[in-house]
Symmetry: C2
Subunit: 178 residues, 2 copies
């Protein structure tokens, strides 16, 4: 049930509507935890039923159905409880490795272009992360604890992408030789 807790965290940072959450998720937390708007609405419903959050019609929303959610004390408590629990490592799960292995078994299937494409996709993500880093974590700004942690999280993404880029470079070589 990480989605609920990701939403709690996001809502603590700033009360928002489901729609806004869906868009904010595309950045920040969303780099490590994705969700569609469907999932988010459904989960917000459950969380309100559980008494973790409270919603009211958005004051700026006119006659639209927009609702703003904010975290109740019991939601905060729940997040605290959950955050201290041990969590399993994420599983490494990559379709492309299956394809590579199929290529090893069946003989050359022409995966080189796909290899290059994937390398480029990682480069793009890296560029995006780097842009965020440059914008939000300039070296001259005073690093609070919160900022240091946010930066740390971002760096996980950066290193992850760099790591894959290096691996794809080697992969291009290996597949290119044969």
């Amino acid at each position: 049930m990480s989605l609920a807790h990701a939403l709690l965290t996001s809502l603590l940072e700033q009360p928002s509507s489901g729609y806004d959450l869906a868009r904010r998720f595309d950045k920040s937390i969303g780099h490590f935890w994705q969700a569609t708007h469907q999932q988010i609405y459904r989960e917000l419903g459950r969380m309100e039923k559980a008494g973790w959050i409270l919603s009211e019609p958005d004051p700026d929303a006119g006659r639209t159905r927009k609702r703003t959610y904010c975290v109740l004390p019991s939601g905060r408590q729940e997040l605290e409880r959950w955050a201290a629990e041990p969590a399993p490592l994420p599983e490494l799960r990559d379709e492309f490795m299956v394809r590579l292995r199929a290529d090893a078994t069946l003989g050359p299937l022409g995966l080189l272009p796909e290899l290059r494409r994937r390398r480029e996709l990682h480069c793009e993500k890296l560029r995006a992360y780097r842009a965020i880093e440059a914008r939000d974590f300039a070296p001259e700004t005073a690093p609070t604890r919160k900022r240091r942690i946010h930066h740390l999280i971002l760096k996980a993404g950066i290193q992850y992408e760099e790591n894959w880029i290096a691996w794809y470079d080697e992969a291009v070589q290996v597949l290119g030789e044969s």
Copy 2:
């Protein structure tokens, strides 16, 4: 539908029963694509219905229900078709980053021990990969194309773990300071 294709690859390497596949999956391909025995049996059923594989009672099985599956030409074709398709990059999805962010928002929640635990888990995986590497890819053995690719896949795992270990080292520092 990667599971089906992972199974096809595995069965091409060696015809086996569902049970054997489940165990072989814990090694090799399973480092990048996990599946429980339930999933495997269900999928084998579908694949046989689709005409990709054929099963017969295992000759060495006595009165047990053990069945051995092997890949039919149409299965091989399907694998070839599928392997050449472009695949999406795997999404980075890590609960723990959500917890870290909750810690940043709520204030210190004592995540340091968990950080160290996770680092150790990555070390263990790394050791396991390294052991496989030492056993299966000794530098003196002649590298065929197939072996080179298998080694490449393994190295993806190795680098991945090393990368996370380095990141957790930094994380311990950042969280330790405050």
